[in-house]
């Protein structure tokens, strides 16, 4: 073995010293890339939230116009306020139209009249009807009522208040009328309670998310009721009872893969199996719940297994040593100790289900549904799908509504995740 002389140490040191500034620059650059990456991610969160809030905050208030309404029996054409058939046929819009003519007496010509009637929501007549039915003594009387404005007026008035009037869908006459109303204090923004109390509507000013929220609730209840017990059972089996064999491996591979299967595939499954094979009706929370159950099961199984795994074996050994059977060990010790982790997993799974929309499009929960669902077999839609539907609508006012619905959806999700985090912090045991 021949030893070649080593390169001189001081020569090495010179080279190292020379390389230092270049390498330190590279180091700084790299660190800066990292900071930028984190910043980009955080900025995306900020931009997203700012964008949604700036678009949607306006939707919580809506424009009302004050008009003098006379509940003229002849005009409505209803004789008996207790007869539903008559009520259904009554010309309720005549009330609001008359009130408008009364306010702006000088309007003539079909076009101008249409513009005039366009000032208030086309559903205003029905609101007046509800008002009258709630208080039948009003019949024949005259009162000042704040009436919901049309969505175009709402959009214009809000943007005008903000100093950047958006008048694309407004005629000059209408702008003039709004100015007059504003000067007299007869137009104002009020809390938009319709948003929370009504179902969907083609008219943006009438549309609300109540139906979608109820639909989401029903679907989630069903999903939770099915997926939590099944998921926990599966997790217990796999962690505590399953023999180490190919069948178990196969189940595990299946679960892990299902967790990564695109959600839309679950929609196809629901469509083909539940709707076309078992003839479950479309659009009902039952199908939605079933599909989302299958979709969230892998998540719940995986988190539950992690929770069971975190229970140290010593606990099991201690109970076994007392002569407890395997089932008793699981039921008395493992399950109570891993329950917080499982609950956290269930909440996260539910949050995932709450935000999911693609598979529900497949099973018809995308239908236009005005009525608020009351049971598992009523046609319904869910909040994310409502957002999708509104986002697709051409009316400008729906942008605001969509953003508001998103804000509601996100607040639900934030609450759920906060509870999950809190639960984990609160109940988590360190071994």
């Amino acid at each position: 073995m021949t030893k070649k002389p080593m390169t001189d140490s001081s020569n090495h040191l010179d080279k190292i010293k020379k390389s230092l500034s270049r390498r330190n620059r590279a180091e700084k650059r790299f660190r800066w890339y990292g900071r930028m990456a984190v910043f980009v991610g955080l900025a995306a969160v900020m931009v997203l939230f700012t964008d949604i809030i700036s678009k949607g905050h306006g939707a919580f208030r809506i424009t009302y116009v004050e008009l003098q309404v006379t509940y003229d029996q002849d005009m409505i054409g209803v004789e008996n306020l207790t007869d539903p058939a008559q009520l259904a046929l009554g010309d309720w819009e005549a009330l609001s139209k008359a009130a408008l003519r009364n306010e702006f007496g000088d309007v003539s010509g079909r076009r101008d009249k249409r513009k005039l009637y366009g000032l208030i929501s086309s559903g205003a007549g029905y609101d007046l009807k509800d008002r009258l039915l709630a208080n039948p003594l009003l019949l024949g009387e005259t009162e000042n009522v704040w009436i919901l404005a049309d969505d175009d007026i709402d959009t214009y008035y809000k943007s005008w208040l903000d100093g950047e009037p958006y008048a694309a869908r407004m005629s000059a006459k209408q702008i003039q009328w709004i100015d007059e109303l504003h000067a007299q204090g007869k137009i104002r923004l009020q809390f938009n309670s319709n948003l929370f109390t009504r179902g969907d509507s083609r008219e943006p000013e009438q549309a609300g998310i109540r139906g979608a929220v109820m639909g989401s609730l029903l679907v989630l209840i069903l999903t939770l009721m099915l997926s939590f017990p099944i998921g926990v059972s599966a997790a217990i089996y796999l962690e505590e009872f399953a023999p180490r064999n190919r069948w178990t491996d196969f189940i595990e591979v299946n679960i892990n893969n299902l967790a990564a299967v695109p959600s839309i595939i679950f929609g196809l499954l629901g469509l083909a199996i539940f709707i076309n094979f078992f003839h479950v009706p479309r659009s009902v929370p039952i199908v939605g719940g079933l599909v989302l159950t299958l979709m969230t099961l892998p998540t719940i199984i995986i988190t539950s297994r992690a929770a069971i795994k975190s229970v140290p074996p010593s606990i099991r050994e201690a109970a076994m040593g007392m002569g407890a059977s395997k089932s008793q060990v699981v039921l008395h010790h493992v399950l109570p100790l891993s329950l917080p982790g499982m609950l956290t997993g269930a909440i996260i799974g539910m949050a995932q289900a709450l935000g999911e929309s693609a598979p529900l499009l497949m099973i018809g929960m995308v239908a236009f549904i005005v009525d608020i669902p009351a049971g598992f077999s009523d046609p319904a839609t869910v909040l994310p799908v409502q957002i999708f539907l509104w986002a697709d609508s051409p009316e400008r006012a729906f942008i605001e509504k969509t953003s508001a619905a998103i804000m509601v959806l996100l607040s639900f999700l934030i609450v759920m995740n906060t509870v999950a985090v809190w639960l984990r912090k609160r109940l988590e045991r360190r071994w």
Binding site: A26, E27, F30, R31, Y33, G34, A37, V38, V40, G41, L42, A44, L48, I52, I230, S233, Y237, F241, A242, I251, V253, N254, N256, N257, L258, A260, V261, P262, S263, I264, I265, L268, L269, L271, A272, I273, F278, H279, P298, I301, S325, K326, S327, A351, G355, E356, S357, A358, L361, M362, P384, V385, I387, F388, A391, I399, T402, I406, L409, L413
Partner: protein, 462 residues
């Protein structure tokens, strides 16, 4: 009787059986000298009786509910008058719906034909018979089970092992649901796809260059068959996914590296969950953001540079999808990076490597399998992502690699083909399932491969 009522009845009977069984075992134990003379605890005898009482009935109830509607429907259709008898699947579904609605009283009976009314009455009576038959059957089975379970109770009867065995099998059944789900997906998608490939050759579908699934309303119209060449969809999907990966991989990876290797503990505790927020935002929100904010912004930006950017550009959809995938990649990468043993870092730093040299030359190469696995999972996610592209990407299939143009994707087409009213057996609808089959196959292969890599990687450092 309503199914829910029957369910409650069975459960009530089960509870009754539990107390009966428990009581009998206690009564048996008393003369023998206390419950320690019994083989099992009294509650196990109770559970044994309850299982015998409720379990068979529940299974039967489940099966009955699954199959009675289709059965009743077919009986009704069999017996329906010839003049309204359905000719194909579409009219079959229509008719069934109508009869069912009439039977439920949802549609007013006024003005409907006598044949329909008769069918509806037939359906109602069949339903009533079915429910009562079910109730009677279930009650009999439950009581017999109760009797059997009760009669077997004796001091030497080994109730606990039996109950535990049954419980364990129930757990096994729950675990097997995952397999049935996969099987269900494969079967449903395969079955419809095979039907599709009967009318459109599989070769034309996989390699065809033109996609226009619009089938004509009238049979005699031109182009009524539509064309189902899926290549433009595959290309569009790849383009959008590529844009997404172009955003997500560098940002996700670099932020994982920064948070794992550089950031102080306090930055890490706040920045990590803040990034994870992106993962919790529903995709429909991203879709809205892409369609209404990012796409117009990019279009205007392009216009100011004299570029024509489509308002449904692949760039907008892909970019926003990338943002969605950032936390996915960063948390997976974070896992694998922190799994690299500290001794590797020490070894490199002790040689005088800077931190970035350590990361680039030691940690990343060591973590590469895990990172590759994570990126593959992310690709599978991008390919299968639906809402963002449905809302922000185009509908028209275009064969292009230019991210500024509008493309459509596999998932967009599945949604477009399956929402809206159409008959179920048309090639147009079936095509959605063929696309679903493609999507499932590709993502499944990616997932299996990626999960395998990640698992192997984890084992290496465990």
């Amino acid at each position: 009787m309503q199914a829910t009522n029957i369910l409650i009845l069975i459960l009530g009977l089960g509870a009754f059986a539990f107390f009966l069984g428990r009581g009998r075992s206690l009564a048996l134990a008393k003369p023998l000298g206390g419950i320690r003379k019994l083989h099992s605890l009294p509650s196990y005898y109770g559970l044994h009786a309850a299982l015998w009482c409720a379990l068979p009935s529940l299974v039967l109830l489940f099966l009955w509910i699954m199959f009675d509607d289709p059965l009743i429907n077919s009986i009704v259709i069999e017996s329906v008058a010839a003049d309204i008898a359905p000719t194909d699947t579409a009219s079959y579904n229509l008719l069934i719906n109508k009869i069912a609605n009439l039977a439920d009283g949802i549609l007013p009976r006024k003005g409907e034909s006598a044949a329909l009314i008769a069918a509806a009455d037939h359906m109602s009576s069949l339903r009533v018979i079915s429910r009562w038959a079910l109730t009677a059957l279930l009650l009999t089975i439950s009581l017999l089970g109760l009797l059997w379970g009760w009669s077997r109770i004796s001091a030497s009867f080994r109730a606990r092992p039996v109950v535990e065995k049954v419980m364990q099998n129930i757990l096994l059944a729950c675990a097997c649901l995952a397999i049935f789900t996969t099987l269900g997906i494969v079967l449903s998608v395969m079955f419809e796809s095979i039907q599709f490939f009967r009318s459109v050759p599989i070769f034309d579908f996989v390699f065809g260059l033109e996609w226009s699934p619009q089938t004509a309303i009238r049979e005699d119209q031109v182009g009524s068959s539509g064309s189902f060449g899926a290549v433009p969809l595959f290309v569009g999907t790849l383009l959008v996914s590529a844009v997404a990966m172009f955003v997500a991989v560098p940002v996700g990876l670099m932020s994982a590296i920064y948070l794992a290797e550089y950031a102080s503990k306090s930055v890490r505790t706040y920045a990590k969950p803040a990034l994870e927020i992106l993962a919790g935002i529903p995709t429909v929100v991203y879709g809205f953001f892409a369609a209404l904010t990012v796409a117009p912004f990019l279009r205007d930006l392009g216009a100011s540079f004299g570029l024509s950017v489509s308002s449904e550009s692949a760039l907008a959809a892909g970019g926003v999808m990338g943002v969605m995938i950032i936390p996915f990649i960063s948390s997976l990468a974070d896992d694998v990076i922190t799994a690299v043993p500290q001794s590797m870092r020490d070894g490199s730093l002790a040689m005088g490597a800077t931190q970035s040299e350590t990361v680039r030359r030691v940690i990343i190469p060591a973590a590469l399998p895990g990172i590759v696995g994570g990126v593959m999972l992310a690709i599978s996610r991008a390919i299968g992502e639906t809402m963002i592209v449905v809302m922000a990407a185009g509908m028209a299939a275009k064969l292009t690699a230019n991210p500024l143009e509008s493309v459509t994707t596999v998932t967009v087409q599945i949604v477009t083909l399956l929402t809206g009213d159409q008959e179920f057996d048309s090639p147009k609808t079936l095509a959605a399932f063929a696309l679903g089959l493609m999507l499932f196959t590709v993502t499944l292969l990616l997932n299996i491969f990626a999960l395998h890599i990640v698992k192997k990687y984890r084992e290496q450092y465990d």
